[in-house]
């Protein structure tokens, strides 16, 4: 049986951290994480926040 074809392609719609992402307006570059920085492992001689 041939694979079912969907009628029309539409651009993906999604929200990132609660905000709608507009594909046409958005810059095509990697976006820095908006969430809290993951707790990094200690960095000697630079120590983490205690």
């Amino acid at each position: 049986m041939p694979e079912k074809k969907h009628e029309a392609y539409e651009s993906p719609e999604f929200k990132k951290n609660g905000e709608a992402v507009e594909l046409s307006a958005a810059p095509a570059i990697p976006v820095a994480p908006a969430g809290p920085d993951a707790p990094t492992a200690p960095m000697a001689p630079m120590a983490p926040m205690m």
Partner: protein, 478 residues
């Protein structure tokens, strides 16, 4: 008071300078750990650094007091009392045995003993190293950090006998005095100089590279200065420029420090230095030490309905609906006990968290169903949990440690193509090209639409790149 934001011109100039360094490195014997530009190095890396790259390094902060008060120190130097040994922010140890159990539980292979200044609690250091060797054998790689102030021949002998592999000297804390490192080279197998790169001291470091080799230093590890609440005033006085404050929440890396580190690397190449010179950027730490931390705890925090991403986040797929509808869906998914869904419901509404392998079925069932994708960062905390039946992850000293999942990213996929893009790129892990081709074949697309699908796919992928993958390039200063 914080420094005013750098001008656009300053940032552009710094980005140009950074690009020039990396252009220079292109035809040189520069290696990139994990094939990532955030950690360039020449010659060799210390075996200790290798364990960090592999995600199996444990840094034990054995004390907090120090003999110095460096302007760049990121720790609270007003503390007057010594603390218990601790690691990963919250975990404290009252005995070497507790620490060894922790090392075993999370499969560490490398142990770096930091402080404070560890030589201030020298007997404690020896006790911990001996316990590690007695319980775990000779395979683990152990090193210690020091500013060299309290190093003596007798202490070096004791460290050697206890089984220490390497000493790393922060000579920037001690006026670039090389005598302790020179002495240590007689007793300890590997000697490293490990310093934050102070832009004003660039020429001192460059002119000393040959001397480092002559006295038996094998590795030079360069760190990027980072500004935080403890050193902000001193950094502002020196007029440093900081960047990327969104990416690195708790501290701000100094641009001039990174450029100076890359300059040292370039100089080492030019003079054909035999040192293993390694630039460990803040960006590397955020990407790979962060990933190692998450992966360490993800396996013990994971719920059966969640999956662990390559970057160590816990990923959760969920849909909302009526209790009846989702109870039915759960029944279908859990058929023959193959999958584990989690249903949370009240009288009128419910949320079904389902394993990622069920996503395709959800899309097929209802192409317009809104799907939530949530990424959580796992961590463990010594908090007393309200739920007394909750299982603790670790017991150390008098504390019990429970897991905690921090909401980090959230996506709502609100139409069919976003769900399919997600399925193909991040569940099936297909390339952008293949995923775009497959999506095109699922629709009656005209030729001119295929380019649009490909462009949409690239943009969609970029939205997830720091979550599902770790970028290869260094980010530009902003």
């Amino acid at each position: 008071m914080t420094k005013t934001k750098p001008t656009k011109k300053t940032i552009e100039t710094a980005n140009f300078q950074k690009k020039q360094f990396f252009d220079f490195f292109k035809n040189q014997a520069v290696h990139y750990a994990l094939d990532n530009h955030s950690k360039p190095y020449i010659n060799d890396l210390s075996p200790g650094c290798e364990t960090c790259i592999n995600g199996t390094w444990s840094c034990l902060f054995i004390n907090t007091m120090c003999t110095r008060n460096c302007f760049y120190c990121p720790q609270d130097r007003t503390k007057k009392n010594e603390s218990l040994p601790q690691t990963d922010k919250h975990i404290k140890f009252t005995s070497p045995k507790d620490y060894v159990n922790y090392l075993k539980k999370f499969h560490f292979k490398g142990i770096g003993i930091s402080g404070g200044e560890p030589f201030l609690v020298f007997d404690r250091v020896i006790e911990y190293i001996k316990s590690i060797r007695d319980c775990l054998g000779s395979q683990h790689y152990i090193w210690i950090y020091t500013n060299g102030d309290l190093v003596t021949e007798d202490k070096l002998k004791r460290l050697k006998d206890a089984g220490l592999n390497e000493i790393r000297f922060d000579i920037s804390a001690a006026d670039y005095n090389l005598k302790p490192a020179s002495l240590a080279a007689k007793y300890i197998h590997n000697i490293a100089v490990e310093i934050p790169v102070i832009p004003e001291d660039l020429d001192i470091v460059k002119s000393n590279l040959k001397k480092f080799e002559d006295i038996g230093v094998k590795y030079l590890n360069l760190h990027q200065l980072m500004m935080n609440s403890y050193n902000r005033a001193a950094f502002n006085k020196r007029n440093y420029t900081v960047t990327n404050t969104n990416l690195y929440r708790n501290d701000s890396p100094v641009i001039e420090s990174e450029l100076a580190a890359l300059d040292i690397l370039k100089h080492a190449l030019k003079i054909k230095s035999g040192l293993g010179v390694n630039y460990c950027s803040r960006c590397y730490k955020a990407r790979f030490q962060g990933k190692a931390y998450r992966k360490r705890y993800a396996s013990v925090c994971r719920d059966e309905s969640e999956s662990v991403t390559r970057t160590g986040y816990l990923m959760r797929c969920s849909i909302n609906g009526t209790p009846e509808e989702l109870t039915h869906t759960r029944g279908v998914f859990n058929h023959r006990g193959k999958t584990k869904c989690r249903l949370t419901k009240n009288r009128d509404e419910a949320i079904l968290v389902f394993p990622s392998q069920c996503l395709e079925k959800v899309i097929a069932d209802d192409p317009y169903k809104k799907i939530d994708i949530t990424y959580l960062s796992p961590e463990i905390n010594p908090l007393v949990n309200n739920n007394k039946n909750e299982k603790y992850i670790l017991e150390a000293g008098s504390e019990k440690y429970f897991f905690k999942k921090i909401l980090t990213f959230q996506f709502e996929l609100t139409n069919r193509s976003s769900a399919i893009f997600f399925q193909k790129l991040f569940i099936e892990q297909k390339s952008i090209e293949l995923a775009a081709k497959e999506v095109s074949s699922e629709y009656d697309v005209k030729t001119d639409q295929m380019q649009k699908i490909s462009d949409d796919m690239k943009y969609f992928y970029n939205q997830f790149i720091d979550i599902e993958y770790l970028s290869k390039d260094m980010p530009d200063y902003t």
